[in-house]
């Protein structure tokens, strides 16, 4: 449904670290932020800034989740009993594309998403859902 609009590894440079721990990550070569002003001295982040960055990092980790979809995980996580943060991680890790990535069938979350959406992953031997979020 949604098209990836950004360079896949740009998030690594924005966060200043390799978020999937891949050797091909561009932070190994260019360890500064992306864009014209990426090489300026980093400003100290505000409280809001650190929260936003934490959110962007987790959202970016799962490849191509939209803000709307990600927020739904938050809403559901806060509705459920228990720690909202832990619930949210649990919900994200139950995504079909996340499980495919964890099972090491593919090298990246992006590849996991493509494998699912192209119908290459069967659930319970029968139908192959093409929704990565299942």
């Amino acid at each position: 449904m949604s098209k990836r609009e950004n360079a896949k590894y740009k998030i690594d440079r924005r966060m200043g670290e390799s978020i999937w721990g891949r050797p091909k990550s561009p932070v190994n070569k260019r360890s500064y932020g992306p864009g014209q002003h990426g090489q300026r001295r980093a400003k100290k982040l505000s409280d809001y800034g650190t929260q936003l960055q934490a959110k962007q990092k987790l959202k970016g980790y799962y490849g191509n989740i939209t803000e709307r979809q990600f927020r739904k995980y938050y809403t559901e996580a806060s509705r459920r009993p228990g720690d909202t943060g832990e619930n949210m991680i649990g919900l994200l890790e139950r995504r079909l594309d996340a499980v495919v990535y964890r099972a090491k069938f593919v090298p990246t979350p992006f590849a996991a998403r493509q494998l699912v959406s192209h119908g290459h992953v069967k659930v319970n031997a029968a139908a192959s859902p093409s929704r990565p979020s299942r």
Binding site: M15, E17, S18, I19, W20, G21, R22, P23, Y48, T50, Q51, L52, A54, K55, K57, L58, Y61, R71, Y74, S78, T84, G85, E86, M88, I89, G90, E93, R94, R95, L96, V99, V100, R102, A103, K104, F105, V106, P107, A111, L115, G119, H120, V121, K122, V123, N124, A125, S128, R134
Partner: protein, 71 residues
Amino acid sequence: MSEKDAIELSSKAKEMALVLEAAKSAERDTPDYVSVDHDKMTAKLLRTPKLADVPYASQMQPHLIVEFYSR
């Protein structure tokens, strides 16, 4: 995904070079909440993981995300 669901790759995907290479690579380990058979290309989610179980390569701070959304 629920704990009862069994994942299997399609016969076409089982022969993809990308898949075969990824299964062999030592770049990542499979976490203990997912059981995988790389010969049959099947997997199963065993339980819902907690933050500490998930092998994130960098540190994730869900409590900051909760703060972000609850402001």
